[in-house]
Structure formats: C-alpha cells, structure tokens
C-alpha cells in the first residue's frame, strides 16, 4: 500500500479496549511518514485518534506502557528503539499491506 508523497498506509490492529475507545471495528489504516519507525506509526495513530494519547505510551516520557507490546511479521518489536527504522522485511511487509502493525495488551493479571 502506498500513500501520497513520502508516506505509506499502514494497517494497525488495536486491542479490544482501545478499539472501543477509538470507536472503530477491526483494523485501522494510518498514513505514516517514512522512514517507518515505531514512533512514526504511533504518532500517526495518535494523530488520527487523539483519544489514544496516553493509553499506549506514557504521556510525559513517550515510553511504551509496561503492559502494552508491539508486534509485526511475528517479530516482537516492543523493546526496539522507538526511533530505529523497522527491520527492512517488516517495513516492506506492512507498507505493502501484507502484514499489520499489532498493538497488543500483554497477558498479565486478570
């Protein structure tokens, strides 16, 4: 998938609570500026759905919340540096629309 200019459309899968909060069903599509990084994806997501600000990343530090994780192409990206370009095969797959970027609520607690 491509978007206008130096941006790509990225499919993002949200956990149920955040889908409810954003008022969406299923995947969402966000336009992300290249190069694709975690921060770029999340910035684009929050720009489209401001209600998600603070629910995925800490408002003050912008660090990933402890019980939220990020996956794509069966890779756990959670602890990768937020400004590092996504691995090339991941970026290729999600910009081509073959794979989504997954925001996952960690399995913790009850």
């Amino acid at each position: 998938m491509t978007s206008a200019g130096d941006a790509a459309d990225v499919r993002v899968v949200l956990p149920a609570h955040l889908r409810n909060l954003a008022g969406v069903h299923g995947e969402v599509l966000v336009s992300v500026h290249r190069p694709l990084t975690q921060r770029a994806v999340l910035d684009a997501l929050e720009a489209r759905f401001p209600v998600l600000c603070g629910t995925i990343r800490d408002r003050r530090t912008a660090k990933r919340r402890a019980f939220v994780r990020f996956y794509a192409c069966e890779q756990d990206l959670s602890n990768d540096p937020p400004d590092a370009p996504l691995p090339a095969f991941v970026a290729d797959a999600i910009t081509a629309g073959r794979e989504p970027f997954l925001v996952v609520g960690a399995m913790a607690g009850g």
């Binding site: 209600v51 603070g54 629910t55 019980f67």
Partner: protein, 369 residues
Amino acid sequence: MTQVRVLAGTRKGAFVLTSDGNRDKWSVSGPYFGGWEIYHLKGSPVNPDRIYASQNTGWFGQLIQRSDDGGLTWEPVGNDFSYAGGDPGTHLWYDDTPRPWEFKRIWHLEPSLTDPDTVYAGAEDAALFKSTDGAVSWTELTGLRTHPTGPSWAPGAGGLCPHTIILQEPRIYVAISAAGTLRSDDGGETWRVINRGLLSDGIPDPDAEAGHCVHHVEAHPAKPDTLFMQKHWDVMRSDDAGENWYEISGNLPTDFGFPIGVHPHEAETLYVVPITSDSLHYPPDGALRVYRSRVGGNEWEPLTSGLPQRDCYVNVYRDAMSIDTLDDTGIYFGTTGGQVYCSADSGDTWAPIVRDLPAVLSVEVQVLP
C-alpha cells in the same frame, strides 16, 4: 417526581442505578467502560446530568470520561496529568529512599459547587489537578505536592493517594494516604497541614506533622468547620476546620475502617462501617454492620436490619458510601462483594439494590428534581 440516581464505580466498569423517591424499586444500567477500573464518578451539583468518571487500567492508563445526559452517553475528555515543572522532585518510598513523583491514576473527582465546567482531580502520586473547561485540560495546583512536608510523604498500601477533596470554595480540604490532611484557604494555591491531635502507631513522634494514614474525611455543609475523619485506626473529629482533632471512636467494636458519612439534616449524626483490622479487611464476626452516632461520636449504635449478619467477609472502601438529601434520608454503600445497599430511613433498615456487581470502589448519589 423526584428521582434518585446512584453512580457506582467498580473494578470492571461503571453502573448507574435509578429509582424514584421511594427508593424501593431500582433499574440498573451498565456496565459502562466494561473491563476498566472506575475509581470514582461524580455529578456536578450545578448540573446533575454533567457527570465525570475516572477510568483506568494497568494496561492502558488513565482516562477521564464526561457525560452530559446523566450517564446515558459518555465522551472521553482530557487525560494529560503531567506534573508541573521539569524536575518533579521526590517523595519517600516504602524503604525510606527518595522516589520521583510519578502520575499513576485519578482516585477522586470533585466537581465545583458553582461551575459545572470546573472539576478537581486527586492524583496518585499525591497531586491535585484542576480543570475549568469540563475536564478537557488539566493544570496541577502545585502548592499541594510541593508543600515543605511533601518530600517526607510515603504511600500507604494503596498508594500515595489524595482520596478526599472537600470544596468550600475558596477553602479546600484534601486528605492523602499516608500523608494526612491539608487545607487551603486560597483556592489551592497554598496549603497547610492540619493533623494536630492525630496519633498513629508506627509514628514515634506524637507531634508528627505528616505521615498519618487518613482514610476519609467529611464535612457537614451547614457546619463547614466541623470535620469527621475515619483514620487507619481511630474515628476523629475537628470543630475548628482541622486545627485540632480529637477521638470519637467511643464504643465502636473496632475503630478501623474506610468511609465515614454525615447526615445532611442532622449535623451530629454520623455513619461508619467498622472493619476488623488493617490486616483483616472484613467486618468483625462476619456481620456487616453500619454504626450510627446521633450525638457527634463516641456513642454508636449498630444498624443491622437487612444487612447480612453471618458469613459476610466484604470490605467497604473509602469512597463507597454516600448520603442523599431527601427528607427521609437515604444512605448508600457498596462492598467489595459487589453489593450496593440502600437505606431509605437514615439507616434503620437496609436492602440491596444489586448483589452481584464487580467489587465496588465508589458510590455517589444524586437527587434529581
């Protein structure tokens, strides 16, 4: 006809319970925000259909929801509770080491008595925020957290939580577990600790300014300088706006507990729910009893009719009691077992409104014209 609306915050969502003035038949709606912890929700005294709710999970953090139609629909509003200043400073951690202040959750929301768009929020760790635009944006009232005693404040078991906000604008009272009670006479700009007379095991200094584990404080609207406190242990009273406190536990079977309530028409009538101890968070003898004093404390009577008197091991949290303003005054409380009880006769008899909600964190009642 008069309507009564009870707002119940629970571990897994919010519920709205409604009845007419007889308070014997109830309808239940919810859960709203299912799966989220709703620490507190409260309506504006000016516009009762304006309700604010604190929504939180360990996964996705803090949200504030606002309703303008009495809880039928909700809109997420502002959740930016950034502490003022670049370096927020420190408080004490459990091991007596300094720990940076860090926002965790909103325990209590207190709408203004005069403006439906103004609301105060008590934040763990120990900060007070104010919004004047219907909870869209928040500003920290830094005078509280930066009080000279602030670096010595340490969290209670539940966290360093400002759970009580009493508005007598411009006067504001705040109670924090485990710092104590503070009062501002200038709308929250400056604060002074008001803990003289509180005695707490574990604090060797009987004159300690801070460090007291206050569980809840209430004031009677007609006697604003008279305050009633349920402390970790001890039920306390002040008749001079918190300058001096004295104990009124009297003949209670135990003076540990969380909520305390004041009758709206009888300034000397109080309610507490004694809990066995700080390590046994359930009622003595497995019997759920509300205790009422009609003389301002010390002399208490158990209220048991309609409440389980055997095999009951629930707790009642600090914000989970509320009292309506009808002539036949209604008392309400919620339990960790998911029951919300109502007495429509000032506590003489009780009946459950609901029995099987998630653990109840907060109860607030509104009387609607």
